[in-house]
């Protein structure tokens, strides 16, 4: 825990005081919209005896855990070589290939699931294999980011030193590189396991009816079967298990970079040895193809109705038919995403502010709890909790329009507050001191120093929140109601109905949603010229 932003001087007392007061906002938000719904769910589902004896529920949880374990192993096996290619070498097109690996992470998991359904051979469209492969595809970006960052900061000098001491490439990896990467690999693995364990969107379209995961079963019990008790019991299991996974894997995530101050330069490819040059070039080409292919498949699938290639699904989607109001869905999705982004960024900034500036440990701890609790409570459980908690006066909020953006804000909050806190910590404290010695009041210090330095990270965090909202499917599918259907809800509804044209329309909506997400990222990337994702 490096303390760049830790309050040490008297000048920051106003910040610390403000932090204490501002804490009330995130506490109320997370309390009302996460803790209370979760507790309501827990109370209804806290019937462990039933969960343990019910073979169906138990096998669902078991399957969810082992598919997540296999997905994690596969993701690491693919992700570590990809990280090596992309972070240890400099070559033409590196940035583009690297951006491509982020694409699936930026896209809604539902859309990625559909893309896989579109490109997999017909025997493999649903089941464990496509689900696991899709998970790897979705999460390679996590490994590239987490392990890649560590790898990039690993000075090449260690490798060179080992070589002069007689270590060949394999021995160097085992004795020098691997010990340095181990903690980051564990951290990435923990994150990936978490994502795969609470998979929903991809699982809805890929796992198939005979292989349900916990989240899809919660949805099925709550919405299709109307069995709230079973849904709640699974939700309890989900909360407990995610909590355990988080507790086990979180310490690894704190491992920082190397102590060494010399930055590592990637190897320029034309200076590398021939086998390495061939390997990296080939690897980069494969990565590019693999990451583009599903998107192409998705687009092509939207043009296929039955066995014919046609634009009819697109024409029908933009016309006014009873099955789909695409323009309305786009409008609803964008409106909800905007509202969710505003809520998330306000609450997330406050959480970050308290974490960074509060003087008391307990205040910082409470702020961290506000960040962690929404991680433990998965999106589907948030939706279920909203259903169960907000249905009686004085909080009979059933069908309120703002419930959906609030649910999305809960889902996006951890990501957003973490992004903002990381940037807040990097602001050197003496900048603020300098401003105050030049006569700036505490408020002025905040507006002239913090606010302007945080403009870009907050912009990035807003995009992140909007992206999460656009692609959010877990909470949405429990809170859906007639009237203002979002894009993900439309996909879910269309997929559940028979008929070639409706199926093709689901892919049309997925293409539109993917385009929306990608253009949002591209737009913000241009505006901030920063590294978003």
């Amino acid at each position: 825990m490096a303390g760049v932003g830790v309050v040490t001087t008297a000048i920051l007392t106003p910040y610390a005081r403000a932090a204490r007061r501002l804490l009330v906002v995130p506490v109320v938000f997370v309390g009302v919209f996460t803790v209370w719904p979760a507790v309501t769910t827990l109370r209804r589902g806290f019937d462990l005896a039933a969960t343990i004896t019910d073979g169906g529920l138990r096998s669902t949880v078991w399957f969810t855990a082992w598919q997540a374990a296999i997905s994690t192993v596969l993701t690491l096996m693919v992700g570590i070589p990809v990280a090596w290619v992309l972070t240890r070498h400099e070559f033409v097109g590196r940035r583009i290939v690297r951006a491509l690996t982020l694409v699936p992470f930026v896209l809604p998991t539902l859309v990625v699931g559909l893309a896989f359904r579109a490109v997999m051979p017909s025997g493999l469209r649903t089941g464990v294999a496509p689900l696991v492969i899709a998970h790897a595809f979705l999460n390679v970006a996590v490994v590239v980011r987490v392990v890649g960052a560590r790898w990039e900061s690993q000075p090449r000098g260690f490798d060179d030193a080992a070589a002069t001491l007689g270590a060949g490439p394999v021995v160097r990896f085992r004795t020098v590189t691997w010990p340095a990467l181990r903690a980051s690999v564990a951290a990435a693995g923990g994150l990936v396991f978490m994502y795969c364990f609470s998979t929903y969107g991809a699982a809805r379209v890929l796992a198939g009816p005979s292989r349900p995961v916990t989240e899809t079963e919660i949805y099925r019990f709550a919405v299709l079967a109307g069995d709230m008790r079973a849904a709640s019991a699974l939700a309890v299991a989900q909360i407990v298990l995610v909590g355990i996974v988080l507790a086990v894997t979180a310490p690894g995530a704190r491992h920082g970079a190397s102590h060494d101050t010399t930055p590592a330069r990637p190897v320029a490819l034309h200076d590398a040895t021939r086998p390495r040059r061939v390997g990296v070039t080939l690897g980069a080409a494969i990565i590019a193809v693999v990451f583009v292919l599903p998107l192409v498949g998705l687009a092509l699938r939207s043009l296929r109705v039955g066995d014919a290639f046609t634009l009819s699904a697109w024409r029908k989607a933009f016309g006014s038919t009873n099955s789909l109001h695409l323009v309305d869905a786009i409008t609803a999705s964008i409106g909800i995403a905007l509202a969710a982004a505003v809520i998330t960024v306000v609450v997330g900034t406050l959480v970050a502010f308290v974490q960074v500036h509060a003087a008391s440990r307990s205040a910082r701890g409470v702020a961290t709890a506000c960040e962690v609790i929404p991680v433990v409570v998965s999106a589907v459980v948030v939706g279920l909790g909203f259903l169960l908690a907000f249905r009686e006066s004085p909080v009979d909020w059933r069908g309120r329009w703002w419930l959906l953006p609030v649910a999305h804000a809960v889902v996006a909050l951890p990501l957003v507050s973490r992004t903002i806190a990381a940037s807040m910590r990097q602001i050197p404290h003496d900048l603020r001191n300098a401003a105050s010695t030049l006569g700036a009041s505490p408020l002025r210090v905040f507006s002239s120093i913090d606010a302007s330095l945080l403009r870009r990270p907050i912009g990035a965090a807003t995009t992140l929140a909007a992206l999460v909202s656009l692609g959010e499917f877990g909470a949405s599918s429990l809170l859906s109601r007639r009237g203002d259907e979002t894009l993900t809800m439309a996909i879910g509804r269309l997929l559940g109905r028979p008929g070639d044209i409706l199926q093709a329309q689901a892919f049309v909506v997925a293409v539109v949603l993917a385009a929306l997400c990608l253009s949002l990222v591209a737009f913000v990337d241009r505006v901030t010229t920063g590294d978003v994702g």
């Binding site: 260690f158 060179d160 030193a161 002069t164 001491l165 021995v171 160097r172 010399t262």
Partner: protein, 221 residues
């Protein structure tokens, strides 16, 4: 004429379009300690890295004990290297750092321990084996790095600004130690530095990098 311990013959190194070493030649007798002087950015480190095989040579030859090193990977050259910033492995303690090369060479652990102990006392750090390398002072880290590169008794020892991180007084005291230790080990040694005083104290012979190239171009004609 005996076979030289190290021979650098018309070596050229370029990074992209930038030539870093042009026709550099240098000859060290076995066991000789030579210092190469040059300002920073003059290609001193590149010369050492080229000898160790960490940088690819455009043209020219490097011979160690008369053997052409072309196509020989760094880890098979038997060349010891003390890096700038030492590059001690942060996940290993002092003894494991010093014993690293011996472990790679599959030296049995009993023998290894003896050798590590011997080297640590040679560099003046007896009983420091269990220390975390992050806790070492600059001078101690430099000594450990030296011990590590000497452990496998390399035919050629290369030192890249070995004392650059240290303050003035410590530096010259350590320079004398360095010479004593290298002499005792008997390796053919090439040290590069920008400090003429340091060079004089460590080496038998001091040359300037610019002269290595100049001599050559006139030789070559």
């Amino acid at each position: 004429m005996t076979t030289p311990g190290l021979e650098v013959d018309h070596v050229n190194v370029a990074f992209g379009d930038t030539s870093v070493l042009v026709n550099v030649s240098l000859r060290l007798e076995r066991g000789e300690i030579v210092a190469v002087l040059g300002p920073s950015g003059s290609g001193k480190s590149t010369l050492l890295r080229a000898i160790a095989g960490l940088v690819e040579i455009g043209s020219g030859t490097v011979r160690v004990d008369g053997v052409d090193m072309r196509g020989v990977a760094t880890h098979r050259r038997g060349v010891g290297f003390v890096f700038q910033n030492n590059q001690l492995f942060p996940h290993l303690d002092v003894a494991a750092n010093v014993g690293y090369g011996l472990r790679i060479a599959r030296v049995p652990s009993a023998q290894r321990n003896v050798r590590v102990t011997e080297l640590l006392s040679l560099v003046g750090l007896p009983n420091h084996g269990a220390r975390d390398v992050a806790t070492l002072s600059g001078g101690e880290a430099a000594r450990v790095a030296l011990a590590r590169s000497l452990a496998t008794s390399p035919r050629v020892l290369l030192l890249d600004e070995p004392l650059s991180g240290l303050d003035h007084d410590l530096r010259y005291a350590l320079a004398d130690d360095l010479r004593r230790v290298i002499r005792a080990a008997g390796s053919t040694t090439l040290v590069v530095t920008h400090d003429p005083v340091e060079a004089e104290r460590i080496a038998d012979r001091v040359v300037r990098l610019v002269d290595l190239a100049a001599e050559l171009s006139s030789d070559g004609q």
